[in-house]
Assembly symmetry: C2
Homo-oligomer: 165 residues x 2
């Protein structure tokens, strides 16, 4: 991702991009901060297992889509190299975790999960094996991987292993 590519795609001259953002790092940070305001709503299927499987399936479907998968991959690549993009990425995922944590809060309210479970850790634990396959080991993810990740996270939460430290 370069200023030239962005300008080319947008059909503007690269000086327009440089004047507004200066570097790709700042452009990415700005785009991410704008994107955070879009109202993403956590799945609400009526059970914590259904919600976590839906959340994990959303991650898998994003990675399976050749266009949408570019977003997390480009973000993480940019964030590994530049601090403004890194901070924006971290804010993005913090907001997403906070929004998804409602799944765990509702589950505690329904008595499906013990009080004191770390609600955001349940979200991280659900998503982590999928990101690990895509980014680290380079292995495929599918709906079965999504269900396995969701069920593993849920079992750990129910066993009290994800309790706030």
């Amino acid at each position: 991702m370069t200023v030239e590519n962005v300008a080319d795609r947008a059909g503007v001259h690269k000086t327009t991009v440089y004047r507004r953002w200066g570097t790709v790092d700042v452009l990415i940070a700005d785009a991410l901060d704008q994107g955070r305001d879009v109202d993403w709503v956590a799945p609400d299927t009526g059970s914590v297992e259904g919600d976590l499987i839906a959340l994990a399936t959303e991650v898998v479907d994003t990675f399976a889509d050749p266009v949408r998968s570019r977003v997390p991959v480009a973000l993480i690549a940019a964030a590994l190299q530049a601090s403004r993009a890194r901070e924006a990425k971290n804010r993005y995922y913090a907001a997403r975790h906070a929004a998804a944590a409602v799944i765990a809060k509702r589950a505690v309210g329904r008595g499906e999960l013990p009080e004191g479970v770390d609600v955001e850790e349940l979200v991280r634990q659900t998503c982590a094996p999928l990101f690990y396959r895509v980014l680290v080991s380079g292995e495929p993810v599918d709906r079965a991987a999504a269900e396995r990740a969701a069920r593993a996270a849920l079992v750990a939460a129910r066993a009290g292993v994800l309790g706030a430290g």
Copy 2:
């Protein structure tokens, strides 16, 4: 990471690097393939819980070390952008997972884990929450995070959730 930086650090002219490897992508792939031959041995503490905690702690200690942490981060950044590095990274982690899977195999032999558990999935599940924090959400990892990741993976394996699909 650029050919210029590599040449500079090695105290050679950049044409020497170009002549041998051509691009950073190929250089990284070559370095990784050489590194795979170094004999990494999985921890062997006498219990699967101890082994998994030791494995997760090794991951955390690597990320906590400003020098050693550059290796996985540089690899993954390079792999996101170039195919030779990506293939080499994938081979690297496949070899590491296969080597670490002995932890799960020994545990099955000792009756600590059910037959049919996916031995490599237990390794992925142990490491994934740590890589997720470092690479995706940008949150700190510590020994407590390592223990939590290991225990969560173990609970899931014991519950049969990590069985071969």
